[in-house]
């Protein structure tokens, strides 16, 4: 099972980031890390979109991943980054297994709004919990990666390497996943549920597994973000954040895994400037662009680069 062409490109890109990390300024390293972390969550949204579902609540798992890092360090004294990420994933998978039971019974609108609701519930709970700093959140303690201490605790280079490595692993996994039986089954479900059942597949089971994996990678994204930013707060679960992830997913399209990373990078860079220049119209611009994308580029910007031809690998 050799690597496909596009997978080789991903590895090359990751290596390039690794090399460049030594020469780029800190702010760019930080932005790239954020982009990769966001792309994780966006890929979760994409996984669900391929199955015909839109989640307005991936922020839920994004937030859990972030808070797991924060709380692991603060309350349990854990400092290893990988361990912290792992804790987030475990908590997320546990919750996703529970919520998934309810959510996979529903399609379309119900699914969309229920996911919104769950993430807003977490937001509400966090805002009211004083131990966790309510609306201010709290800072993430110093962390280590395996055996070494990155640049005094919150090194931007180390977290970039970590993000790149994790991002690459997830990207490769998903690339295989999309071409696998379950990946295609998700698309089949989106297209024609009736046929799927008559073929002998359980729509619910497939969607359930898909949902849990999407949640897990969302959590990883949240963990990476908090490691890089050094801070967590309840807005990670607020609906607007989930909305941004959906925006990026639509921007990138569902064609290829790499699209999410590129779209996330573009989005974050644009947002950094726009929020400075137009604080009271940034959301409006986002909304207008979103409408334009839906009207003119239903398959995202990726469709500008490739003629989409879906072939199972």
């Amino acid at each position: 099972m050799g690597l496909q062409k596009s997978e080789i490109m991903l590895v090359v890109a990751a290596a390039a980031i690794g090399l460049l990390s030594f020469v780029i300024p800190d702010w760019l390293a930080f932005t790239t890390t954020l982009a990769i972390a966001s792309a994780m969550v966006v890929l979760g949204v994409v996984m669900l979109m391929r199955a015909g579902l839109v989640s307005f609540g991936q922020g839920l798992y994004y937030c859990i991943g972030g808070y797991a890092v924060g709380m692991g360090g603060r309350f349990l004294g854990v400092t290893d980054a990988l361990l912290l990420i792992g804790m987030g994933v475990v908590a997320t998978v546990a919750l996703a297994m529970l919520l998934g039971l309810l959510l996979t019974r529903y399609r379309e609108i119900f699914f969309a709004m229920l996911t919104l609701a769950f993430s807003m519930i977490l937001y509400g709970v966090l805002v009211k919990s004083h131990n966790l700093g309510s609306t201010d959140g709290f800072g993430v303690g110093n962390w280590t990666l395996l055996w070494f201490d990155p640049e005094g605790g919150k090194g931007s280079k180390t977290v970039l390497w970590l993000a790149t490595a994790v991002g690459l692993a997830v990207a490769l996994f998903l690339n295989r996943y999309f071409g696998s039986a379950i990946g295609l089954a998700c698309e089949a479900i989106r297209e024609n549920e009736v046929r799927v059942e008559y073929m002998g597949m359980s729509r619910r089971q497939i969607l359930y597994i898909n949902y849990i994996i999407a949640a897990a990678i969302g959590s990883i994204g949240g963990s990476l973000t908090s490691l890089a930013a050094g801070h967590v707060d309840p807005t990670m679960a607020y609906w607007t954040i989930s909305g941004e992830f959906i925006f990026i997913a639509l921007l990138g399209g569902t064609g290829h895994v790499a699209a999410a990373f590129i779209a996330a990078m573009i989005f974050i860079m644009v947002r950094t400037y726009a929020v400075e220049l137009f604080p009271n119209s940034w959301q409006m611009i986002l909304g207008i662009v979103l409408l334009l994308i839906i009207l003119f580029l239903p398959k995202g910007i990726w469709s500008l680069f490739t003629r989409k031809r879906r072939v199972a690998s």
């Binding site: 015909g52 579902l53 839109v54 307005f56 309810l102 019974r105 529903y106 379309e108 609108i109 119900f110 969309a112 709004m113 229920l114 919104l116 609701a117 769950f118 807003m120 519930i121 509400g124 709970v125 009211k128 919990s129 549920e193 009736v194 609906w239 607007t240 909305g243 959906i246 639509l250 009271n280 119209s281 940034w282 959301q283 409006m284 986002l286 909304g287 207008i288 979103l290 409408l291 839906i294 009207l295």
Partner: protein, 299 residues
Amino acid sequence: MLTVWAILIDGLIYASWLFLVAAGLTVIYGVMRILNMAHGSLYALGAYAAASAIGWYYNGGGDQLWIALAMIAACAIAIGALAGLIMERGVLRLMYGRDEVLMVIVTFAMLLILEDVMKIIWGTTPYFAYQPYAAMGRFNIGVLTVSGYQLMVVGISIAVGLALWFWLERTKIGKILRSIIHDREVSEAMGVNVKRMFTITFMIGAVLGAIAGGVTAPIISVVPGVGVEVIVVAFAVVVTGGLGSITGAAVGALIVGLARAVSIHTMPELELFIVYAVMAAVLIFRPHGLFGQAVARKI
């Protein structure tokens, strides 16, 4: 025992407010199969418009309560109708026939746009329009006191509910709408001008949302974001009751209102959680809500 009464009264007051908010949302979904996330923005628009009007009126020396109330109604209706018309004709028209969830994203985009439009027009400092609320005093029910304004809201909510019922059941337009709710394709085949009905429906839903906001303005501080928080609760009501059903919205409002009242009096931090837990419980037994219809798949 006192707490039980307090819960019941609080629950009822909250339920009536919930119904006002949810009614527009469910009507639009029932007829157009669009879940309008921007409904929260319409609510906020109504609140801002009312707050501005009241502020202008009272600061200009006015002091007649009934004029203030009339202004709330007028402003809310005007802005709701206008915004609804622009949204439906300007944006939604272009997107009809698309996937249901894509429509939700479209309404989400409109929500983003409207949130900033409101920030641009009204700024970010809170608006207060407490005068009508204060002017209506407080009443005693047994040992509890309730504000007159909130009792009025209950009355308005009941009136709106009856008006909606009457309109849907007894008028010609209402019958047409019900036929569209039942089966859009068949209605079209029978000659119904579905496009025009959609515009009318959306405007009505928008007006209802704006009225809910306008009526609420005197009770809250109107700030950016009020619309979004409302949508989350409104959704719970509409889903519990069954998407598209007005009766469902009423019953859902009662259930959610009571659940929230219970939570507030016992475990305030879990308010939203309890509301959604109740909704989830209902969905387990009735997956489409209490009065919702399953949409049949056609092979």
